[in-house]
């Protein structure tokens, strides 16, 4: 009886958790286990695992230039996009946090990219990058600079895709950071002003430290999301040229749905999972130390 009463939280708790547990099991844990299972097999033309291949799938991808290249491209892509998009969003949020007339208009514009889907954004940017009629090359032409092969030059393609991604992420990042800024107590600034602190001193001493939890949150989310970018690659470059934009998720997609190799695709997926996990753990380990909670 006592046990029954003491365990009330467990019973009721599990009841409330049941939908989540069932759904996660069905659509995340079970498929994840199956992905692991598939990663030890070769699949036939209909995607059925028919040939047990041991760890050969893993040794193959680690020894293949292609996969190493796509890991490298993914890391570069993350390095290009995450810091820049957070930094730009931070600057925009600080600007938009001022109490100025018509600031609501600017906030709306700044957050607008969040309302634009990956598919739509990528199509718009595909046109901006267009080698002959795109806006960017028209602008370059107008100021007498040579045209750039934005998506065709292996030196440029990853940067171009990163640019698109930065733009796509700015809206969400801006909104979150602005929210964080508005949570900072106004009186802190007032007393600092009385103490004679200048604009940048206040920014450095008050804004940034108090904003650190928000920044930590947004960096974590951005990191995870960026590792999983897919739509813009699919529409803009399809992984080319010379696989310079063949990010891991795209490589998985191609291996699975173009080449019908569920086995090697699954092995790549597991490796991606491991990398994301490690990066996140490192982020929490080293990043959270610098976070300043109120």
């Amino acid at each position: 009886m006592k046990l029954w009463k003491r365990s009330v939280n467990v019973r009721v708790g599990l009841l409330y958790l049941l939908p989540s547990i069932i759904l996660f099991s069905m659509f995340v844990f079970y498929p994840m286990a199956k992905t692991i299972y598939l990663s030890f097999f070769l699949t036939n033309q209909n995607g059925l695992p028919v040939y047990f291949n041991g760890i050969e799938n893993y040794t193959y991808i680690f020894s293949s230039d292609e996969f190493r290249n796509s890991m490298k491209a993914t890391l570069l892509f993350v390095i290009y996009t995450v810091p820049v998009s957070v930094l730009i969003a931070l600057i925009m949020a600080i600007l938009a946090n001022e109490k100025l007339k018509g600031i609501g208009f600017y906030r709306t514009i700044f957050s607008s990219t969040m309302g634009i889907s990956v598919a739509a954004s990528a199509v718009v940017w595909l046109f901006l990058f267009h080698p002959s009629v795109g806006a960017f090359n028209n602008i370059l032409k107008a100021i007498n600079l040579p045209a750039v092969q934005w998506l065709l030059d292996p030196e440029w393609a990853l940067l171009s895709v990163s640019l698109t991604t930065i733009w796509m992420n700015i809206g969400f990042n801006f909104l979150v950071i602005l929210g964080g800024l508005q949570n900072i107590d106004e009186s802190l600034y007032e007393s600092a002003t009385i103490d004679g602190a200048g604009y940048f001193t206040k920014l450095r001493r008050i804004t940034i430290p108090l904003l650190s939890p928000t920044l930590f949150f947004i960096i974590t989310i951005s990191l995870i999301n960026t590792f999983q970018s897919f739509g813009q690659i699919d529409i803009l470059t399809k992984g080319g040229p010379i696989q310079s934009t063949n990010l891991v998720v795209y490589s998985i997609y191609k291996e699975a749905f173009v080449n019908y190799q569920f086995g090697t695709a699954s092995a790549q997926a597991i490796v991606l999972f491991a990398v994301v996990l490690i990066v996140t753990i490192l982020q929490f380990k080293f990043g959270e130390r610098k976070v300043h909670y109120q």
Binding site: N9, V12, G13, Y16, L17, P19, S20, L23, F24, F27, F29, Y30, P31, K34, T35, G47, M92, L95, K99, I103, R107, I109, F110, S112, G115, I116, S117, V118, A119, A120, S121, V123, V124, W125, F127, V133, L175, V176, G179, G180, Q182, Y189, E190, T193, P213, T214, I221, Q228, F230, D234, V249, I252, Y253, A256, F262, A269, I270, L272, F273, T280
Partner: protein, 272 residues
Amino acid sequence: MKMPLSQKVLFYILLTIFAVLVFFPVAYAFLISFMTPQEVLMGNILPRSFSFGNYEQAFERLPLLRYLLNSFVVSTIVMAGQVLVCAMAAYVFVFLPFRGSNLIFFLFISTMMIPWEATMIPNFLLVQGFGWTNTYMALTLPFFASAFGTFLLRQHFLTIPYELYEAAQIGGVGKLKFFWKVVLPMSKTSVITLGAYSFLTTWNMYLWPLLTTTNDTVRTVQIGIRQLQSNESATDWGVVMAGVMIIILPTLILLFLGQKQLQKGLTQGAIK
């Protein structure tokens, strides 16, 4: 706070520069959506006339209204389902903790690190096995449980004093009643935020709807954009951009209306 005029002007200049940079692609796409292929080819900036020919063509080529409705239905269902499922889970982690509930929480959060694409193949086979292709079920149910949503709501629930819960328990208020009558209303901001966020992300889903729909009955609007793009024949950019405009309009309006709410709510997840 008073601000010197020079500083004010500087702020406005900076704000405007950023606004132009951010909005330029959309504005440009908007202008292109009124152009004929020849105008596009010539690299014009302004269309010769603002006629809706391209829009008519976009609607003619595809049942865009049907797609819009499908997207709306799917997004609304996911929004409602996700808020409910996540709120129930978050409620347990905050108010009904038990031995091992932290472990379950960590397990849930860890799903954030599983790339969706990694589980896509088995998921697809699963949905197929249930006979859910071309149903709203396939497009909605897998997204009800969300680690991000649970996390967001948990962070907000944590700000509700636990004493309140204890008082309610002593006062004989049931757990369900407390959940409905106290926790949810007190977390309105986060709930609305999560709702808006899940609505937007569902609206924007791309690969999954493409894989699980084989006809127009439940197909969503994002697929339309792909269909507008020609495969082996020259692309009519004007029509494509008209399609893009039609697709982004609803979410942009929603975002503009709910922007304040979203920005308030999303940060709740960030600050412990």
